[in-house]
Subunit: 382 residues, 2 copies
Amino acid sequence: MRILIIGGDGYLGWPTAMHFAARGHQVAVLDNLQKRKWESELGVAPLAPIASLKDRAEVFQQKTGHPIEVHIGDVGDEAFIRGVLSSFRPEAIVHYGEQPSAPFSMIDAKHAIISQANNVLGTLQLAFAMHDLTPDAHLIKLGTMGEYGTPNIDIEEGYLDIEHNGRRDRLPFPKSPGSFYHLSKVHDSHNLMLAAKLWNLRVTDLNQGVVYGTDTDETVLDPQLATSFHYDGWFGTVINRFVTQAVAGEPITLYGTGGQKRALLNIRDTLQCVEISALNPAAPGEFRVFNQFTESFTVQELGSLVVEAAQPLGFKAETKEIPNPRMESESHHYNPKNSGLVALGMKPRLLTTEVLQQMVQWVASHKDRIDRKVIMPTVKWR
Amino acid sequence: MRILIIGGDGYLGWPTAMHFAARGHQVAVLDNLQKRKWESELGVAPLAPIASLKDRAEVFQQKTGHPIEVHIGDVGDEAFIRGVLSSFRPEAIVHYGEQPSAPFSMIDAKHAIISQANNVLGTLQLAFAMHDLTPDAHLIKLGTMGEYGTPNIDIEEGYLDIEHNGRRDRLPFPKSPGSFYHLSKVHDSHNLMLAAKLWNLRVTDLNQGVVYGTDTDETVLDPQLATSFHYDGWFGTVINRFVTQAVAGEPITLYGTGGQKRALLNIRDTLQCVEISALNPAAPGEFRVFNQFTESFTVQELGSLVVEAAQPLGFKAETKEIPNPRMESESHHYNPKNSGLVALGMKPRLLTTEVLQQMVQWVASHKDRIDRKVIMPTVKWR
C-alpha cells in the first residue's frame, strides 16, 4: 500500500513510517519541522539525539533496504499538500501532523491560536485536497482520549445512542475536553465527520490514550533511528516523564492527589493499531471512530509502578504530590471502551515491570542528556 | 451599561448598536469591514445603499443625540482588541464579528479556512483578551440553530441530560452541523465553554434562528441608518431572498421539496433577545446557552406565506422547486426548545402577512437596485 505519514518527524510519526516501510509498504513522510522550532523556543530537546529527517530516512534505507520518501513542508500549504498527493497518490494517509502539547496551547492567546490554526486549518486543507485529488484514500487521523474529558457516563467510541423524550438517535459523543490543544482535536473530529459525509471520504478517527515507550522493532536497529523521546513538561507524556524523573534522582511528581485516570498504550501498540486501521479501511463516507488504548490507570498508580520498577535497578525513586497545574477532576468515573480495535485483532502489550525496566535502562543510557530544569510543568491552566 | 458590539457594521450588529444607544447605554462598535471586501469579491451589495460605519454613527448622533464610538480593526488582532478593551472597559460584549455565510464557507479550501480562521481564532483572541483585561464582562456570542443539525430527538438548549448504562450526566448537546461555517460556530461554543470554566468568564451563547426583516425602531429614523439587507445567494437569508424574488418577478426558489424546517425570528426580536441577555447576564463561570428563535416553518410554508403576502400587492409570486445545493434532510423531526429567553420575558413578533407585506413594500422601494444575477445559489455542497 502507498501510505503517507504526515508529521513523520515526530515521536510516533517516524516509528510509524519505519514500521510500514519495513513491512514492504511504499512510504512517504511529510513534516514541516515546526515542532523542532517549538522545541528551540521552549528550550527543550528529545532525550536521544535526533538526526535530520532526510538523514534518518537514509540510514533506514542503508540498514533495511527500504526507501522512505521525504517531503518537507506544511500540510496547511495548499500548493504543497496538493503537490504531494498528486505525485505520491497515497492509498492511506496517517495524520500525526499536529501541535501535540496541551501545556503549549495554554501559555497564552498566541500559543492557543497557533495550536488551533496549525491543527484545525491544516487538517481542513488536507480534507479538501483529498476530496479533489485522492477521494478514495483512507485518512487515519490521530485524536486523543482527552477529547472526551471525564463525563459521569461510560465513554463509547465516538458515538452515543441517545433516547430523549421518547425518541432515539445515534449522535456524536458529547465532548468536554480540558485544554485548547484537546479542543483542536475535537474541532478536527467535527470537521472530518462532515467531510466524510459530504464527499464520501474514508476517515478513521483514532482517539488515542497517552503513549509511553522508547523502542519499536525499527528504532532499535541503529541509534540514528531512535524516536524523539520527550521527558520535559511540554512534550513529555506521563510515564516517559516519571521514568526520567526516577533516573535523574528527582521526585516523581503527581499532579494533585494523582487520582485522575488516564488511558494508556505502548508506542508499539500505536503502530499495531494504526496498521490494523490501515489494513481494514473505513468505508467510503464512513467517519469511523476507535478509542486507541490498552489499559487505564490513575496517575498515582502509574507513579507507584515506576517506583517499583526503578528501585530494584538502583534508582532512588519516590513519588511526590505537587499542585495540579491543570484544571481537572482528581476523582471521577472513567470507563472508556476500546472494543473496535480489539474486534479487529489488536493484542495489547501490558504495562509490566519488565517494560518499565527496559524504559528505565534506555533512559539511563542517555542520563547525561537529561536537563533537570525542563522536567517540571510551568504553565498553569487558570 | 458600557456595551461593545463586535461586527457592528453588519445586518444585525448595526441595528443592535443603535438599539442599545437609543436606550441610553454607552455603545462602541468594532468592525474589520472584512464583509464589505467579501461582498466586493463575490460581486454583491446590500439592497439599500450603506454609508461608512463612521458616517452612520454621525447621522445617528445627529438624529438622536446618542453617540456611538467606532473602532475599525480586527478582533483577531491582539494589540487592537486589547487596546479597545482597555480603553472602553465594556461590561457586555456582543460578538457578531464572524463570517456569516454557509455557502461562502463551501466554495473551496481557501474559503472554508478563511471562515474557520476568522471566526474561531478571532473569538479565541477575544476570550484571552477578556480574561486578561475585563474578566467580569459578559460575552454574548452569536451562534446558530444550524449548529444542531437535525437530530431525531428534541433539540434542547445547549445541554442534554443523558442516562447511559445506568449512570447520568448533563453534557453538551451533540451537534452535527452541515457546513464549515456552521462548524465554526460549533468550535466557538466548545472553546468558550472551556474559557468560561477555566477563567470564570460570563458567557451567553445564542443559537440564533434565521433572521428576517428590514426595519427596527432606529433604522427607520433616516435612510442613512438602514441596515445591510442581503437577498443574494451568499449572505441573503431565506425570507429576505423570497421577498426579493417576489418583488423582482422571479420564482421563489425552494431547495428541493422545501420540506426542511427552519427556526426563524424577526430582526426586531434579535434586538429584543440580545437586550434581554445583556440585562440578565450569565453568572461568573457560566456558559449559558439560549436557542434564539420565535417560530419554526418548513421552507415550503415560508414560500407560500410570501406568495400570499405579495400577490395582493400586485406581484406575480410563485414558488418553484430547484435542486438543493446543500446536503440536508428534506423530511425530518424538528422540535427545538426556546424556553430560556421566553422565561426571561421574550415576547415573539410573529411572521404575519402584515410583517411580510411591510417587507415587500420596503424591498419594492429599492427594486431598481435588485441584481437578478446574484439571487440564485451557485455553490454546491458535494
